[in-house]
């Protein structure tokens, strides 16, 4: 887990942040670092406090703890002096200003010269493929164009940190791609540390260099997307990530996991000996045909998603999900034999409480 990998070279350092929101206890003890030019995505369920955390970093919500931007403690500074631009979920453009003046806004408030304003605005508008839109009014733009203007305005400020609050949540799938590409292009061009919050795991996987999982008021895990989805650090994180398959069993004295799935060698990755739960993604389960041995399961249903069709099978009181050929779906009631790839299994002790602070 890499919540605080560096410190000295960080564009953003969040130390022990606590924020109150809603009627609940709020967030506490949240710490992480984001490197310069890194894309850092925080995922969490709706109402987990993602937006409040982002607003606290921007200085828009009261918080305890420390926020450092480019090595400077900004905890006590107002939003305009934090060098961190915050973008709301839906693009908030100044309706009385043209596209040019919207993008020029952060430069004008810094009293930049007219020549540098013109040059800079043209440059960032070109970066988000909006050259020629300078004189347009915000109300005449499409949703995707508004997002790109907001993004251009944000990078025109040349912030050390760019905070994006679920920028893709309110968009249809085609616009998502457009805005996602604009975010990645602008971030690559201007290299701010990007912190983005979302509840969409697919977006997190597509955008992030590293992903932080916000569960039970804390950061449960910080990891690269591939590692995160393959090796959740806790049962809570695994459940939030929708790892899908859980099988109860026990870890034997020799470190192997014994369950209705059979005996899975864990090669030192297992929990302490005792009752445990194995979690694994659907793609860790594979159908086998004789003579290959496997565990007998019975199909009890199907799940159809845009990118995958799964069969739901029953196994000793539990249900598992495994990918199937969408053109050759085994019918309900069919008996299959399956094996689970031990490399892709993570085992947690049954009494796993909240994950340890990171």
């Amino acid at each position: 887990m890499s919540a605080a990998p560096s410190g000295a070279g960080s564009a953003l350092r969040v130390v022990d942040i606590g924020v109150a929101f809603g009627a609940g206890a709020g967030l506490s003890g949240v710490s992480f670092d984001v490197g310069a030019g890194e894309r850092f995505v925080i995922v969490g369920a709706s109402g987990a406090g993602k937006t409040t955390l982002l607003r606290a970093i921007a200085g828009l919500a009261p918080a305890t703890g420390r926020v450092e931007v480019a090595g400077r403690d900004v905890s006590a500074l107002p939003p305009e002096r934090r060098d961190a631009v915050y973008l709301h979920q839906t693009p908030v453009l100044f309706p009385h200003l043209s596209v040019f003046e919207n993008v020029a806004f952060p430069l004008r408030v810094r009293q930049a010269s007219e020549a540098s304003v013109r040059g800079r605005v043209r440059e960032v508008l070109a970066a988000v493929r909006l050259d020629g839109f300078e004189s347009r009014a915000p109300r005449t733009l499409s949703g995707g164009q508004r997002h790109r203007v907001a993004l251009a305005r944000a990078v025109a400020a040349r912030p050390a940190v760019l905070l994006l609050d679920e920028p893709l949540a309110a968009l249809d799938p085609s616009l998502r791609g457009e805005v996602r590409e604009a975010i990645v292009a602008a971030q690559r061009e201007y290299r701010p540390a990007l912190v983005l919050v979302t509840h969409d795991l697919d977006e997190a996987g597509l955008l992030a260099d590293r992903v932080a999982v916000l569960v039970d008021r804390r950061i449960a895990q910080v990891a690269a997307p591939a590692e995160l989805f393959a090796r959740p650090a806790s049962l809570a994180a695994a459940r939030f990530l929708g790892v899908a398959n859980e099988v109860a069993g026990r870890v034997r004295g020799d470190g192997a996991f014994e369950s209705p799935l059979g005996v899975l060698p864990l090669e030192g990755r297992g929990a302490m000996a005792g009752p445990a739960v194995a979690v694994f993604r659907p793609d860790a389960v594979r159908r086998v045909t004789p003579p290959e041995a496997g565990v007998a399961v019975r199909v009890v249903g199907h799940r159809h998603r845009a990118q995958r069709t799964s069969a739901v099978v029953a196994l000793a009181g539990a249900t598992l999900e495994l990918p199937v050929d969408p053109l050759d779906i085994p019918p309900v009631g069919a008996e299959l034999r399956v094996v689970v790839e031990p490399r892709l299994v993570t085992v947690f002790p049954v009494d796993a409480g909240p994950p340890a602070p990171t």
């Binding site: 631009v85 915050y86 709301h88 806004f105 009014a137 400020a157």
Partner: protein, 316 residues
């Protein structure tokens, strides 16, 4: 449930009876007879108009004309009175005209013109100061939650809802102790009381609909609160601030009771001067003053209408 009226009724005809046949002066498309939705939506052909059907637009025209006359006739009479030397019953029109009262106004030396200037200054100051005070109050009320918001709104509403005589009597005692009785400053402060209350409620409504996220985003883009106010909030609320100024102006412009109670007759505003002319039987000057009193509301109405027309325009 109310049944949708057929289109034919929209041009001044009666709708067919519910479930009954269509009127015999309309032609329903074949296969859609009887009062079915398709027949109601179908194009109709006009036939001869019955007296009952002609009565409805006539009635509307009479109502509109009565409304227009009730608005125009008093002002037309005032205009005639303002230029009549002597005009008594049963003469339909003034037998002799004079521009004396208007010359007095234009010349600037008369009590009427002095009062008009005093009213203008007081009203402009009330509008401007009222906006400056009520805008932050309205914003603060908007940010309050629950009972605090209701209590604040009720407090703002009190000087608006209470009779001006009651408010003026209380203010008179207070301002006299400050030595401001009978002064223009005292009258201005008195006018500000209902104006700030009214405008605070107005701005509470404005800020309830205002998207404060633009200000947050401006702050994180590097703007100080003052820059946000100057470059974002104020331009976005320009029309609302202008409307609030006009409201504050009109509250002061028409104020009689507070001016009289706090000014004690020493501060002469246009409404007081008109009252004085009416009491003393100087109808020509009273009419001239009354016409002057009507000018700002008419200008405000025209400005609001123009602003509304502008906001209806959606550029391509």
């Amino acid at each position: 449930m109310t049944e949708r009226r057929p289109r034919v009724a929209e041009v001044g005809r009666d709708p067919p009876a519910a479930g009954g046949p269509p009127p015999n002066d309309t032609i329903a498309p074949s296969g859609a007879e009887g009062g079915t939705p398709s027949s109601r939506a179908a194009p109709k052909v006009r036939g001869p108009q019955s007296p009952r059907r002609l009565a409805r637009p006539f009635g509307r025209a009479v109502l509109v004309a009565a409304l227009a006359l009730s608005a125009v006739v008093p002002f037309a009479l005032l205009a005639l009175w303002s230029v009549s030397r002597q005009w008594f019953y049963p003469a339909l029109l003034p037998p002799e005209l004079t521009g004396e009262s208007w010359r007095a106004v234009v010349g600037g030396g008369a009590a009427l013109s002095r009062a008009a200037v005093a009213s203008l200054v007081l009203a402009a100051l009330t509008g401007a100061l009222g906006c400056a005070l009520a805008l932050p109050v309205g914003r603060a009320l908007d940010r309050l939650g629950g009972w605090r918001r209701h209590l604040g709104a009720a407090a703002a509403f009190l000087p608006v809802a209470a009779p001006p005589v009651a408010v003026g009597t209380g203010l008179q005692f207070f301002l006299l102790t400050l030595g401001l009785g009978g002064t223009a400053l005292g009258v201005l402060l008195a006018h500000l009381v209902p104006a700030v209350g009214y405008l605070s409620l107005y701005f509470l409504g404005v800020f309830s609909a205002f998207d404060a996220r633009v200000e947050e985003e401006a702050r994180t883009l590097g703007a100080t609160p003052l820059q946000v106010l100057r470059a974002v909030t104020a331009p976005m609320l320009r029309r609302q601030i202008a409307e609030a100024f006009a409201l504050g102006f009109l509250i002061s412009w028409a104020q009689v009771a507070l001016t009289l109670l706090v000014g004690g007759g020493a501060v002469r505003t246009l409404p007081l001067e008109v009252f004085a002319y009416v009491r003393s039987g100087q109808d020509r000057f009273a009419a001239t003053g009354a016409l002057l009193l009507a000018v700002p509301p008419l200008v405000a109405l025209a400005a609001v209408r123009l602003a509304a027309r502008r906001t209806e325009v959606v550029p391509a």
